[in-house]
Symmetry: C2
Subunit: 67 residues, 2 copies
DNA sequence: GTCATAATGATCTACAGAAGATCAAATATA
DNA sequence: TATATTTGATCTTCTGTAGATCATTATGAC
């Protein structure tokens, strides 16, 4: 399983979904899906923007989960 | 830019595109696009299978490139 | 060298899911 | 309470991968 730590990273910074959508320009629905881990694919653009915005590496946002 | 190190990782193990396709069950076209970095999005399933197959973390396969 | 096999690149259709928008419900704030 | 904001759910549109196929190139056997 791929684990997406967006909710954790956002929580640490006390960011709301609407904040991230507003600040990055990424569609709110897309962020919602990643936040709730219902997304099954991701655009590289989105991945990049989120990492830059959150100041993290891809490996901190997405992790291989042993399940 | 998102940099995909699939070609490097495969090169280190002397793996062919057809090998990876055969061994993982991932469509050859999909691997070809990641290999040549023409893909603009990726399924989490594919990401996971490639990492497991290559024995690497997501951060080793995908990297944030400062361009 | 020739021939056969494998690997690769290119291209097509079909399909799945994100993008984008909208609506209603829930939450926060004055 | 009333208003504004945030969020979840849902819909249509659109993009790009999945999967297949064909042509070309590379590899290896003879």
């Amino acid at each position: 399983m791929i684990k997406c730590h967006l909710s954790k990273l956002m929580g640490e910074k006390k960011l709301k979904i609407s904040d991230v959508a507003k600040d990055t320009g990424i569609n709110r629905g897309t962020i919602t899906r990643l936040y709730h881990e219902t997304a099954v694919r991701v655009e590289f653009d989105v991945l990049e923007q989120l990492c830059v915005y959150l100041g993290c590496e891809i490996g901190e946002l997405l992790e291989l989960d042993v399940d």
